[in-house]
Symmetry: C2
Subunit: 295 residues, 2 copies
């Protein structure tokens, strides 16, 4: 399947080199200007990574992260190619098409760096994120703790989420990712939510791209709202604030993603997301606060 993205007129800047994977194309950043830890990158808000006409928040976060990582690379110091922590505020949904990421290096350390990135359109900040960057190593092992991966029921090809949502809404992103909900948490699809507030799924890129720390920034916002498993709420559940921690380099293969709703009160809900790789290692954790309307 073909990405709807129009190609940028300038070379990609990418930690992966130039690739033909859809996620890398969609998150590509092109350096326009850099000056002592400040940079402006051109990006393209991709029509393919959307729910209806709204870009996915994790996809936007990964795009900003690429610009932030590229900005540190222009300042002398050890390479910090991975976002270990990302905290984002979603100010408003960006329009599809051209945008800029304005980055500023707040600290360039030996082991870690911190960078603020802002996705800007027409002078207005649409998403603002701050990253703690470092380098994850393949040989790292958990020293203590780490939630074990949840049991998952069979999620064969026939369980893949379709690219059409409630009321026939088009979900272009579902052509690009292969999300297979654990059947025991998929009751909401047929109007029978389990009432637990938990969704579990296997997730992989449709074109076979392997997961990496950048992809985990998307994965933590990839599932539908866990409130779908509660029922009784209406409309969008727009993310106000998203925090993601990337804890390890993920092994190749599908990810297991669990999204859980916490407290619904005062028109907000908190959700916790955890991601395990194909070895069962906890590789990412996230929390978000989203706006919600109860029926």
């Amino acid at each position: 399947m073909q990405s709807a993205r129009r190609p940028l007129a300038f070379p990609f800047v990418s930690g992966h080199g130039e690739t033909s994977y859809q996620f890398d194309q969609a998150t590509a950043v092109a350096l326009r200007h850099a000056d002592e830890g400040n940079a402006v990158h051109d990006v393209d808000v991709d029509a393919g990574w959307t729910i209806g006409d709204k870009p996915n928040g994790g996809y936007l976060l990964a795009t900003i992260a690429r610009a932030a990582i590229d900005t540190t690379a222009a300042v002398e110091g050890p390479a910090h190619p991975h976002a270990l922590a990302a905290v984002a505020s979603y100010v408003g949904p960006p329009a599809l098409g051209a945008a800029e990421v304005h980055s500023e290096v707040l600290r360039r350390g030996r082991g870690m760096s911190q960078v603020r990135g802002r996705l800007v359109q027409n002078g207005a900040t649409r998403v603002e994120a701050t990253f703690t960057l470092g380098r994850l190593r393949a040989e790292a092992e958990p020293w203590w703790g780490g939630e074990p991966a949840p049991g998952m029921a069979e999620t064969g090809p026939d369980r893949r989420s379709p690219a059409a949502g409630p009321g026939g809404m088009h979900l272009p992103i579902m052509d690009r990712v292969d999300i297979r909900l654990d059947p025991s948490t998929a009751g909401f699809v047929s109007g029978r939510p389990a009432g637990v507030g938990e969704l579990r799924a296997r997730l992989s890129f449709a074109d076979g791209r392997a997961p990496d720390p950048l992809a985990l920034l998307y994965a933590v916002d990839a599932l539908p709202p866990a409130t779908f498993d509660i029922g009784g709420t209406t409309g969008w559940v727009p993310t106000l604030s998203l925090t993601a921690y990337v804890r390890a380099l993920p092994a190749p293969g599908p990810l297991v993603v669990r999204q859980r709703a916490g407290l619904v009160e005062a028109r907000t809900v908190d959700e916790v997301c955890e991601v395990w790789d194909s070895r069962g290692r906890l590789v990412a954790q996230a929390t978000q606060l989203a706006a919600i309307r109860t029926a």
Copy 2:
């Protein structure tokens, strides 16, 4: 007992009016300049809210939040006096004494506003935070979910944490807050951590100030690192990234705070904090990623 804070030479700007409570004095902000959603406030990094000579991260977050809230108040729109979500990156510990908070309103909405605040010293950002602001209402009730308050063993006055830490380190903050660890989680004090990675405590201000949404931004970072209950780690556990959600107006009375360590790996640890008020209502949630050294 008397705060070590030297008084600011300008009037306090405060959501509570001018008060003599130590927390309000220490987090006071004084508007120096405001212009269309941008503002600079003078603040004083207080010697009383420190562990050794390092200011507490939650105290700094509350200070920045006050400046951010004050900045929205200067822009037309409904009052949004409470930080519903706060995401902060700790760039480096500020020195005690004079500092500025530079705020920028990213969105001024009807129900919520979003503001970035930066604590700056000598032109360098020390803490950067973005807030989602709104108004919590006393009549709000939980609609779904919400972790129940944990059981707490007796924590009488003799259990109050002393103002001296390991190796006799002075903890001025412990003169200002009354933290009483649940004895079953206080084994680390005598070198016998339970190995669970969980601390629980009752928390109140020593001078009787009631908890409010601002104070909850401090409360989520008030306990020692939950890794103290694991053992085998050394030195400071400096927060890199802190996320706090304030979910309800807290009732008067002591708060119950639970801090839990998640995964220790690759020289970082994630910790989850929850705060309940005296009614047992979940009023705040937080997560942080901190740097850690294993022995």
